[in-house]
C-alpha cells in the first residue's frame, strides 16, 4: 500500500492526526496554485478552504491506484475555474484591491519575473492552468492530465501553445536582446 493510500485510509477511519497530515502535505501546493490561477490572495485562501472540504467529502471515491497529489490539484483547478467564473459575473473590484504588494526589491530580475507572470496571467484559463502546473508546480504531463481531466496530448498542445504565446509576448515587449554571445540560462 502506498503512502498516499495509507494516509487516506487513516483519514477515512477518522484519525485527526491523519487529516492534519493530509492538509499539511498539500496546503502549500493548493494555496500556491490557487493564488497563481486567481491572482488574488484572499480568494486563494477561501478557495483552499473549499478545496479541502471537497477533498475530505470525496476522499472515499479516490482511486488508490492513482497518485493523490494530482487528484487534489485537480480539485483545486476546478474550484479556481468555478470561482473565477463566479467572480467574472459579480462586480469587479478595484485593481489595487486585487494586487498584493510585492515584497521583492524592484531589480531587473524582479522586473522580468513580473513581466513573465503578467504574460502568464493573460493566458487563456486552461492554458494558464497547465503552464502553472508544469512550470511552477513541477507536475508531469500525466499528472496535469489527471488534474484537468484532459488527455495527455491535449495538455501537451495547451502547454506548447501557452509557451509560444509567452515567447511572442516577451519578444514583442522588447525583453529579448539580439546578442549572439548569450548563453542558455538553464540546461537540460
Amino acid at each position: 500500500m502506498t503512502d498516499d493510500a495509507a494516509l487516506v485510509r487513516r483519514c477515512l477511519a477518522g484519525e485527526p492526526a491523519a487529516a492534519r497530515e493530509l492538509v499539511g502535505r498539500f496546503e502549500a501546493d493548493v494555496l500556491g496554485l490557487s493564488a497563481r490561477l486567481l491572482g488574488h490572495r484572499q480568494d486563494a485562501e477561501d478557495v483552499t478552504q473549499e478545496v479541502f472540504l471537497r477533498v475530505f467529502r470525496s476522499l472515499g471515491r479516490w482511486d488508490p491506484a492513482r497518485p493523490l497529489r494530482p487528484w487534489v490539484l485537480g480539485i483545486a483547478v476546478n474550484r479556481c475555474r468555478t470561482w473565477a467564473g463566479r467572480r467574472a459575473k459579480g462586480p469587479e473590484l478595484a485593481d489595487y484591491l486585487h494586487e498584493a504588494p510585492d515584497p521583492r526589491p524592484p531589480d531587473e530580475a524582479g522586473e522580468l519575473a513580473r513581466e513573465v507572470r503578467a504574460a502568464v496571467d493573460d493566458l487563456r484559463p486552461d492554458y494558464k492552468a497547465v503552464f502553472v502546473l508544469f512550470h511552477e508546480h513541477g507536475q508531469s504531463y500525466e499528472d496535469i492530465a489527471g488534474a484537468v481531466g484532459r488527455p495527455v496530448g491535449t495538455v501537451k498542445t495547451w502547454l506548447h501553445r501557452a509557451r509560444l504565446i509567452l515567447l511572442d509576448r516577451l519578444r514583442g515587449r522588447g525583453l529579448v536582446v539580439d546578442d549572439p554571445a548569450d548563453t542558455p540560462a538553464g540546461s537540460g
Binding site: Q49, L112, D122, H135, E136, R163, L164, L167, V176, A185
Partner: protein, 232 residues
C-alpha cells in the same frame, strides 16, 4: 493595454522542427546546446528570438518552486471547517432519515383511508353502437289501413261539432217558432202609416214585403230537414 492573444501565431513550415526542439528543451528532454547548434535557428531571426525568449522564461522558472507563504493558522482553520462540514452533513443525513421515516409512517396511516376513498370503480363500458337496421319494406295494404284509421280519428274533431249544430238550431227553432195563428191585424196600421208616407220618403226605404219572413221560414225548413247522423 494590448488584447490578450488567445492562440499563438501560426508557425512557418521551415520553423516547425526548430520549434519542436525548443519545446523539448523547455520540457527538459533536450539539452540547450543542441538547440544552439540548430542550423535553422542560427539563420532564422524568428527562431533565434524564440530561443532567447525561451532562455529568459527558464531564467524566471529555473526550477519548480512554490514560493507562496502559508498562513500559520491556515491548517487549523481548514480542519475546523472540515469538522463543521462533517457535523452538518451528519445532521442533514439524520434529518433526511427522520423525515423519510415520518413520511413513510404518514403514508402507511393515510393509505387505508385513501384506499376506501379512492376505491377504483368499475370502468364504464363504452356505449354499444348498434348497426343501423334497414327500414322495413312498405306494404300498401297496411299503409292504407293506417291512413284510414288516422282519417277516422282525425275527422272526429270536426264531425262531432257539425253533428251537434242541428240540435242547436232545433232548440232555437222551438224558441222562436212562428205562431200558429195568423198574424194579428196590428200590422195594418203599419201598412197604413207607410201608405200615408209621402212618395219621397217611400222611395228611400226598402219596400216592406214578406221577403224577410219568407227567408226566415225557408231557413227553418231547411235546418229542420237535416237529420242528425248517429255516431258510429
Amino acid at each position: 493595454m494590448t488584447a490578450r492573444p488567445a492562440e499563438p501565431d501560426p508557425i512557418p513550415p521551415a520553423c516547425v522542427s526548430t520549434v519542436a526542439r525548443l519545446q523539448q528543451a523547455l520540457d527538459g528532454d533536450l539539452p540547450w546546446a543542441t538547440l544552439d547548434a540548430d542550423p535553422h535557428a542560427l539563420g532564422c531571426t524568428d527562431c533565434r528570438g524564440r530561443v532567447r525568449a525561451a532562455k529568459l522564461l527558464l531564467a524566471v522558472y529555473p526550477a519548480p518552486a512554490n514560493t507562496v507563504a502559508v498562513p500559520s493558522r491556515m491548517a487549523e482553520t481548514i480542519l475546523a471547517g472540515v469538522r463543521a462540514d462533517r457535523r452538518s452533513r451528519v445532521v442533514r443525513r439524520w434529518v433526511g432519515v427522520v423525515g423519510g421515516l415520518a413520511a413513510a409512517v404518514a403514508l402507511v396511516v393515510w393509505s387505508p383511508w385513501q384506499q376506501v376513498a379512492d376505491r377504483p370503480e368499475v370502468a364504464e363500458r363504452p356505449p354499444v353502437v348498434e348497426p343501423e337496421r334497414p327500414p322495413p319494406p312498405v306494404r300498401v295494404g297496411a299503409e292504407l289501413a293506417k291512413a284510414g284509421e288516422a282519417l277516422k280519428e282525425g275527422s272526429r274533431a270536426w264531425v262531432e261539432p257539425a253533428a251537434a249544430a242541428p240540435k242547436l238550431f232545433a232548440a232555437l227553432t222551438e224558441t222562436v217558432a212562428a205562431p200558429a195563428v195568423p198574424p194579428p191585424p196590428s200590422v195594418e196600421p203599419a201598412r197604413q202609416s207607410l201608405a200615408e208616407l209621402p212618395d219621397a220618403a217611400r222611395a228611400g226605404l226598402e219596400p216592406v214585403t214578406g221577403s224577410a219572413q219568407k227567408a226566415w221560414n225557408r231557413l227553418l225548413r231547411d235546418v229542420g230537414a237535416v237529420a242528425v247522423k248517429p255516431k258510429s
